[in-house]
Symmetry: C2
Subunit: 285 residues, 2 copies
């Protein structure tokens, strides 16, 4: 009869996912359990929180009225865990990193390999994913990205400057210094249209035409190597990619700064500190 705080987590999951099955998957429980716990919660508060529709659960007025209480509870529970994790002085444990794909592959991998030898007790998980992982939710402990962090709870620093270069497949004819007419381009995904290197290309080679797009720099590099066209790549990637050569269009493409950030609560997490020290030693300067 009394309210079980754990049931609020189930309430949240159902509210977010919309169906018992999806909520069950999200929480690692089973669909019947979700139904039962929700019923128990509704009974405890004496109110119907969801309207049962043909295909799922949708919040009633009462349910939406209290949704943000449950969200705040979740925030506090996450903070509770984070703050304790930040006091873990043990070096063993797990660290979850997030970065863009090429950065993870070409820049981070050697550093992580060295760290794994130094600290075999620490399991490192590197997620290279387009979506942003949340530091407050602890979806990641350490995030590398190309924009500064503006959240006040995140401690961040500029890690390194990444120069970019223009590449073509080795031996292929370099584009003439003109307006780019007839030059095939390999660029980022449309969703990344506003990125500095895309704008730069547009300015230097206004008449060039795009023949291939990808959100993955490695894919762009491979396409370039296959002779598909001209690509702007991070030099750490392009310079080590066999079969392509960097060309000079009379002006360097803009570089980018890379930032690394982690949650304040994890400031004292020994293994995070150890990894960060190594990352800075190897990459910053």
């Amino acid at each position: 009869m009394p309210l079980e705080w754990s049931d609020l987590r189930i309430f949240l999951a159902i509210a977010r996912e919309g169906t018992l099955g999806a909520a069950a998957r999200a929480l690692g429980l089973s669909q019947p359990t979700m139904g039962r716990r929700l019923r128990a919660l509704e009974q405890a508060v004496g109110q119907t929180l969801f309207q049962r529709t043909g295909d799922g659960f949708v919040l009633t007025d009462e349910g939406s009225a209290v949704l943000h209480h449950a969200e705040r509870i979740e925030d506090e529970a996450l903070a509770f865990q984070r703050q304790l994790a930040g006091r873990d002085q043990q070096l063993d444990g797990m660290l979850r990193l997030s970065s863009s794909d090429w950065f993870g592959i070409h820049i981070l991998t050697p550093v992580l390999a060295a760290f794994a030898k130094m600290q075999p007790g620490v399991l490192i998980e590197l997620l290279t994913d387009a979506r942003l992982y949340s530091l407050p939710r602890r979806e990641a402990d350490l995030v590398f990205r190309i924009q500064p962090f503006d959240e006040p709870e995140v401690i961040s620093r500029r890690l390194m400057h990444i120069p970019y270069g223009v590449y073509v497949a080795s031996g292929l004819e370099h584009p003439r210094g003109g307006d780019g007419t007839g030059t095939p381009l390999i660029t980022m995904d449309t969703t990344f249209g506003g990125m500095p290197d895309a704008l730069w290309l547009k300015r230097i080679l206004p008449k060039a035409h795009v023949v291939s797009r990808s959100n993955n720099r490695d894919v762009q590099g491979r396409m370039c190597r296959e002779g598909v066209g001209v690509a702007v790549l991070p030099r750490p990637l392009g310079d080590t990619l066999p079969g392509v050569e960097r060309i000079d269009l009379g002006e360097e493409p803009p570089g980018r700064d890379t930032w690394v950030g982690y949650h304040r609560d994890l400031k004292r997490l020994a293994r995070l500190r150890a990894l960060l020290d190594l990352v800075i030693e190897r990459l910053a300067n």
Copy 2:
């Protein structure tokens, strides 16, 4: 392995009570369960939250660091329940009131009796207790007291003015109009020393001496009726108490205002509204 939100409630209870047994009583669980759930919580967060001492559990640094997170979770959980209770349009259910003892007995009882006849589905619980019940915790739904409420989440109004009078046992000699030398007094508990009627007595009869104290106005009235001394009583009590008579010391003792308050979240609780309407109709002005 994942954190159970319900275990945070157990964490809070142990932190407050200091022992597993007391915490178990507070939550209506058993002592072994408290121990097990706490162990599970500590395991889930990978940190020792309590130091096991000879006689009880005391928070470690880690535990105190996260205590206020648990408290905020509790606040939100209470708000969650309150807000839903406030939407309960059902007239049936329970209402918990709190007032001073004499007020409950002499003023509230007739109103509550009338309400019980009008709304037999509503169970009314009247707590007359020196300690203050918390509206945010919903220890009480409706509180009557002699001071205004200053909490912003409480909706309150002045209910009625209570005049006070000076009483002696019927037939007993009235104190002379002098400084009170030789007059025996019955007053409030020492902890209520600063109350207006106590200060007023001190000014009118500075030489009078206290022979009996109680925190209970009814007890004071009975003592007075037994001829023990002079008492200042609320007139609704004194005027209806057989065996005592009101006397005139040339100046009226100060009266007091009574206030009634309830939590905003319960604004739409139909049965609370119904009771309050009756209370105001019968008592206000």
